[in-house]
Amino acid sequence: MLAFILRRLAQALVVMLSVAFIAFMLFPYVGDPVASMLGQDATPEQREALRAELGLDQPFPLQFAHFVGNALQGDFGLSLRQGRKVSVLIAERLPATLELSLAAAVIALLVGIPLGVYAALRRGTFSSQVAMTASLLGVSLPTFLIGILLILVFSVQLKWLPSFGRGDTVSLGGWTTGLLTLDGWKHMILPAITLSVFQLALILRLVRAEMLEVLRTDYIKFARARGLPNRAVYFGHALKNTLVPVITITGLQLGALIAFAIITETVFQWPGMGLLFIQAVQFADVPVMAAYLCLVALIFVIVNLVVDLLYFAVDPRLRIEKPAGGH
């Protein structure tokens, strides 16, 4: 198991370094920083001095090492568009995105798993077919259309819920949260539902398929033969084994949620990292893009690692060391 974790850690490191490299490669394309900092009438000596000061005269690998070193400390320089430190910009936006993604994940899990189990146990009934058709729609509808439809119905027509921004927020030592005010909760409902629809449909379909697969196996028949009540068979035995692939997909989707949040945040003008990133892409604001990229890659890598480790917790078969050779 230790070898497995070490191998995954090494892989994660390689991924992070390649993402950092891609981010680093973006910088030369935004023009010569020396020229833009000094202006037209600087002497060549001044240029050379600044070049040396910025470390731009160093060989390429050294510059990259310098970039990685700064990135590790969270320093990505100044935003080209806003002229503020990128790290500050991102830190301001991070809570909004994380709260939104978390809310969406909770909705997707709390609704998706029970519905999936229901659709599997009551296969062929009208209500389970409705759930399946709805989930097909949920997988094929683009996120931004779902958001627009929700706004049209609940904000424009019914005027029940607000459609943009986070509403009132409370600051807790640098972390602004909308979860402590009623207004914040109201603002959260539509974006969170929008973001969760795709994942919800995915989880529903996955749980149903896995559950049907598991219910066919011998140990379920055996459990029934022992005379266990349905409830014990379904929830004590079947559901447990269903959840192994669900954990993987959900874990990986948690990363996807943060990426998909870009769309939801644009539709609802939610002041999160996604909105920041999309504005950075529009204006080719490379430092912000680079920082967002590295941060999202880091989140992904961590999520993947945690999912791998969760496997060991959930599936005892993996904990037995396999004989040498192969994996």
């Binding site: 394309y29 683009p142 627009i148 439809l149 706004i151 424009v156 990363g255 999309i278 529009q282 080719a284």
Partner: protein, 311 residues
């Protein structure tokens, strides 16, 4: 040793209508409905300049007094504009047809590019094995661990940084590359898997023994045998590519504003949602859903029809 002659066109057609695929199509109402809708959408898109009632890009024909008219069946609507008009007096129906044309073009083009890249790398990976295989598959793993939308956004952003004042053709190129670079992985993996199976078959060994060049074996003998699953993937992928394009355009980083796709239309319409002009954004959305859903359903059907295990 030469590959069998390609059957002449009428023979191939007759064989198709006699074959299992056509039979399964005739007996699947869902597939027929999806095919009809998809065909209609494609027809309206491809022939937009000829079948659209108005030309939305003809500035001279635009009349601002016709702006923001609701659909014909709503009070205040005009028969002249069946689905209403947008803020500049453009006919929504015509704009949708022209928009679908652009969406389809970008979707199909990026699927073609990712298919060529993916199939090529997959063949190479499965055929060469060893270090090349390991390298390509590692890259695939990394690509797969990021959501495609993020990769497309990133490539698009890089494209914008490299060519800050890109003209329209280049902007289209960057967009197509961005979408296709996120899609090739699935082709590469599928083709690699089938190639690994095929390359141990007798016909490949026989070809090798009589000294056929590896590149010829790869393209002439192995390639035709691994294309089945690729076609299924490509069908479903067209829908995905169209949705990705729509999303990018909705986010404002897709097609150039001078040639609005369905996503651009939805983005524009979104600004008028609160003043009650829902038709500007909803109708392009409906068109997008119709295309994506019908193509997806067709892809699902094709997958089942081509899968011998399900027969």
């Amino acid at each position: 040793m030469s590959s069998p002659a390609i059957p002449s066109a009428p023979g191939a057609l007759a064989r198709f209508f006699d074959g299992d695929v056509w039979y399964s199509f005739k007996n699947s109402p869902m597939a027929i409905v999806a095919a009809v809708i998809a065909a209609l959408c494609v027809f309206l898109a491809v022939f937009a300049p000829w079948v659209a009632p108005h030309n939305p890009f003809d500035m001279a024909a635009l009349n601002l007094s016709d702006a923001r008219l609701p659909p014909a069946w709503v009070e205040g609507g005009s028969r002249k504009y069946l689905l209403g008009t947008d803020d500049q007096g453009r006919d929504i129906l015509s704009a949708i047809m022209y928009g679908a044309r652009i969406s389809l073009f970008v979707g199909v083009a990026s699927v073609l590019v990712s298919m060529i890249v993916g199939v090529g790398l997959g063949l190479l990976s499965g055929f060469a094995g060893g270090k090349i295989d390991a390298l390509i598959m590692r890259v695939c793993d990394v690509m797969l661990s990021f959501p495609s939308l993020l990769v497309a956004l990133l490539i698009d952003g890089v494209g914008r940084a490299i060519f800050p004042n890109a003209h329209d053709t280049l902007a289209f190129g960057v967009l197509i590359v961005a979408i296709s670079l996120t899609g090739w992985v699935q082709y590469a993996r599928t083709v690699r898997g089938s190639t690994l199976v095929e390359r141990n078959r007798e016909y490949v060994q026989a070809a090798r023994v009589i000294g056929v060049k590896p590149s010829r074996i790869m393209f002439k003998h192995v390639l035709p045998n691994v294309m089945g699953p690729v076609l299924v993937l490509a069908t479903i992928h067209v829908a995905a590519a169209i949705l990705t394009e729509a999303t990018l355009s909705f986010l404002g980083v897709g097609v150039p504003p001078t040639s609005p796709s369905l996503g651009t239309l939805i983005r524009i319409g979104n600004d008028f949602l609160f003043s009650g002009e829902w038709w500007i954004t909803i109708f392009p959305g409906v068109m997008l859903i119709l295309i994506a859903l019908s193509v997806n359903l067709l892809g699902d059907w094709l997958r089942d029809a081509l899968n011998p295990r399900l027969r």
